[in-house]
C-alpha cells in the first residue's frame, strides 16, 4: 500500500460516513514510515470528531488484520470566540476563560498566566510595548491571551492541542517571550 492508496481508503470511508464536507484537506497528512503509516485527519466541525475517530479506528483495525500498522489522529480546527478574565481569587495570578468554536461545537477552556509571565506582561505594558493590544492593561492582557490561544491552536500533528481533552493552558514566560517577538500584533 502507498500513502496515496491509504489516503483514498480513509477519504472514501470518511465520505461514506457523511464527513466529506467538513474535512480540511489542506492540513491533513498521510505519511509512510518503515514500520507503518501515519494519518492525520483535520475537521472543520468539532461535533463530528467522534464519527471521524470511529472511521480511522475501523481503517486501523482492517489494515492491522492485513499486517499493516497505522497510527493517526483526528483533530478539529477551532477559533477563539471570546476571552474574558475569570473572577479573581485571592493571591492567585490571572486566569482567563476562553470560548472556542469549531463548526457547531463549542467549548470553554481556561488559561492561567504564571507569575513570571504576568510580571513580564506588566513590565512590557509599562514600557509601552503592548499598545497594539489596547489602551489599558486589562485589554492588553486579553489580547496577549487571545494570541497565545491562537498560537496553541495553530499547531498540527502530534504537537496539536485538543481543547476538549486538555481544557487548561498555562501561559508561561517562554511562551510570552515568543509572543512578544512574533505575534501578528507586534509585526503589524
Amino acid at each position: 500500500m502507498t500513502t496515496t492508496e491509504l489516503e483514498k481508503v480513509i477519504k472514501d470511508r470518511l465520505g461514506a460516513a457523511g464527513l466529506a464536507d467538513c474535512l480540511d484537506e489542506r492540513q491533513d497528512q498521510y505519511l509512510e514510515f518503515p514500520d507503518g503509516f501515519f494519518a492525520e485527519v483535520v475537521l472543520r466541525d468539532g461535533s463530528r470528531l467522534p464519527d471521524a475517530q470511529r472511521v480511522l479506528k475501523g481503517v486501523k483495525e482492517d489494515l492491522g488484520r492485513r499486517g499493516t500498522e497505522l497510527s493517526g489522529l483526528v483533530r478539529a480546527l477551532w477559533e477563539v470566540v471570546a476571552v474574558r478574565p475569570a473572577p479573581p481569587e485571592s493571591g492567585a495570578f490571572p486566569r482567563f476563560i476562553v470560548n472556542l468554536r469549531s463548526g457547531s461545537r463549542d467549548c470553554i477552556v481556561t488559561v492561567d498566566v504564571t507569575g513570571l509571565a504576568f510580571a513580564g506582561i506588566l513590565n512590557a505594558y509599562r514600557g509601552g510595548n503592548l499598545r497594539e493590544y489596547g489602551n489599558d492593561q486589562n485589554t492588553a492582557l486579553v489580547g496577549i491571551v487571545t494570541e497565545f490561544v491562537r498560537l496553541e491552536l495553530s499547531y498540527g500533528g502530534e504537537s496539536s492541542w485538543d481543547p476538549l481533552l486538555r481544557p487548561q493552558l498555562e501561559l508561561n514566560d517562554s511562551a510570552l517571550q515568543y509572543l512578544m517577538i512574533h505575534s501578528p500584533a507586534k509585526a503589524g
Binding site: 505519511l31 514510515f33 518503515p34 514500520d35 507503518g36 501515519f38 500498522e69 497510527s71 498560537l151 499547531y155 500533528g157 502530534e158 504537537s159 517562554s174 511562551a175 517571550q177 515568543y178 512574533h182
Partner: protein, 132 residues
C-alpha cells in the same frame, strides 16, 4: 529473577539515553531531531524495563511499538498511552521526514522536558519494583 535482571538492563539503558536527549537554549534542527529520537527510545526502554519488573511477558508484545504503547496504557492510564504515542510520532518524523516542523523552539524544549520527566518517572517506578 531473570525478569528483574532484564528490567535493570532496560532501565540502565533508558537512564543513559535520556541524558543524551537534552538540548541548549538555541538548538539546531539536528540537535532537536536527535533529542526527540533519543528521548523516545529512553522512554521505550524505561517502559520495557517497567513492564519486565511488573512481571509482564514483554517478549509476547513482539516488535510493534503500538503493542508496547497499548500495554503501558493499561498500566499507567490513557494520558500516558497518548503521550507515548505522541513521542513515537515525534521520533518517526525526526528520523524520517525531511520537512521539519517549524514550531517555536520553546515549544520543542517543553516537549523534551516533559518526555524527560515522564521517562524518569517510569524509570524510578521500575527501579522500585526491581528492589521489591
Amino acid at each position: 529473577m531473570a525478569g528483574s535482571s532484564v528490567a535493570r538492563g532496560h532501565l540502565r539503558l533508558a537512564g543513559g539515553l535520556v541524558k543524551t536527549a537534552k538540548v541548549g537554549n538555541a538548538p539546531s534542527e539536528y540537535e532537536l531531531r536527535n533529542a526527540f529520537s533519543r528521548s523516545y527510545y529512553a522512554l521505550f526502554h524505561a517502559c520495557r524495563g517497567y513492564l519486565w519488573a511488573s512481571g509482564v511477558d514483554v517478549e509476547s508484545l513482539g516488535k510493534r511499538h503500538g503493542r508496547l504503547h497499548d500495554e503501558m496504557e493499561k498500566w499507567m492510564g490513557k494520558a500516558f498511552g497518548d503521550f507515548l504515542r505522541k513521542s513515537y510520532e515525534l521520533r518517526r518524523k525526526s528520523d524520517y521526514i525531511p520537512e521539519w516542523n517549524q514550531l517555536p523552539v520553546y515549544k520543542h524544549i517543553e516537549e523534551l522536558k516533559t518526555a524527560q520527566r515522564q521517562c524518569y518517572f517510569v524509570m524510578v517506578t521500575g527501579q522500585n519494583l526491581c528492589r521489591d
